[in-house]
């Protein structure tokens, strides 16, 4: 019988000291909780998961990327503030608890999610995930292709669509888009190319998207029509 995710976490930590595996709960009804691996130890952990006789996660079903963009978080914080108040005619410095709204940018990341099953033991799934440090320049994660070859094309796909660089991947090239393509289209902030030149059923959101596109100004003859469409 398959152990719970917590038990697996304990097993990993027992086998690989300093693995630093983190438990990520899943609040939904599916309750498929997952383990967050640290990139440094991910390969070792993966190898353990595959080779351990009891766990035997020999089958990598699914690899995917998730984009978590930088989030602007608006929160109300209680803060202590020293204010100068005139109490009883005397100016005093008083500590005071104030509620204030703070905005902070929670840095985003790119996440790679792996779903593991065991063909030998017929159990699963175990969800493991890894996160990059940010979404721009530090986007390298270790490739798990050497452990499960099934990750080969899927990691390439994640690289293509999300831009996560998998170190140690044998052949990390674009897989779905053409070689000359520059963007990573599955990211949430990807701007689609402007080629809505003519839409018989021109919806506002389509037109808006076309308008919002930086290249929209360049588009020539259709501009007039688009203006009419928006009016």
């Amino acid at each position: 019988m398959l152990k719970t995710v917590e038990e697996i976490k304990a097993a990993i930590e027992a086998a690989i000291p300093g693995a630093g595996v983190e438990f990520v709960p899943n609040p939904g009804p599916a309750a498929e909780h997952s383990l967050l691996l640290r990139p440094e130890s991910a390969v070792a952990v993966a190898k353990f998961l595959r080779d351990d006789a009891e766990l035997a996660f020999d089958y990598l079903s699914n690899v995917t990327g998730v984009d978590w963009p930088d989030k602007e978080i608006v929160e109300k914080v209680k803060a202590m503030r020293i204010t100068t108040k005139t109490v009883d005619g005397v100016e005093q410095q008083v500590e005071e608890t104030v509620e204030e709204t703070r905005k902070r940018i929670e840095p985003g990341c790119l996440e790679a999610v792996y779903h593991l099953y065991s063909v030998a033991k017929k159990h699963g799934p175990l969800v493991i995930r890894m996160r990059t440090e940010n979404r721009t320049d530090r986007v390298t994660l270790p490739s798990l292709t050497p452990i499960w070859r099934g990750a080969e094309f899927q990691e390439r796909e994640v690289f293509d669509l999300y831009g996560i660089v998998f170190a140690g991947h044998p052949d990390l090239r674009r897989i779905l888009m053409w070689e000359e393509f520059k963007d990573h289209p599955m990211r949430k902030d990807f701007v689609e190319p402007d080629d809505y030149e003519y839409e018989p059923t021109a919806h506002d959101h389509v037109l808006k998207r076309a308008q919002a596109h930086p290249a929209a100004v360049v588009a020539s003859g259709s501009q007039r029509w688009r203006d009419e469409g928006i009016r």
Partner: protein
Amino acid sequence: MLGEGILKGMAETAKNFFGSYVSKERLTTVEYPEERVPAAENARAFPFLVYDGPDWQAGLRCVSCQICEKECPPKCILIEKSKDKKPDYVGKPQFYPVRFDIDLSVCMSCQICVEVCPFDAIKMNTEFALATDDRFGGLLFSREKLAKSNEYYHSIHPTEAAEVDARLAEEKAKVEAKAKAAAEAAAAKAAVSASPAEGGN
């Protein structure tokens, strides 16, 4: 012996070859323009708009609620709501679409517009022979082209149309009954309010 399997396979094709002259099972061709496979009852091709009565503009069931426009997965519907209102089948004043376009060159025949329509106003047609060399003129269907009578709807999906009619009739009856009840109540109220007066007389 080498060649046995090949001979067995050739016997199979020979059976089909000669069988095609005697059995319908082995000659499944339907010579299309002349013969047609009878359309399945709930076959669907592209949406159309149902109207009641003789005048399509007056009888259009669509109230321009724009749910289908929003739910349409490929976004092929474009609706412009009217400024004024006209009475619908139960007599309630409703908006109507001044513009209802479906771009058949985009439509994926998924039937979601039909599913989400609360007014049974949009239904699936079975007409598929829409080949044209005019992409924009021939495939962008406006209200005029989309509007089809309820009789037409009955002719292509009899069971479903009957259900819809029953449902609408029921609703109408309900509304009418309500109205009647309301009217009666009003009348009664009026009568009641009147009667003391009468009584007061």
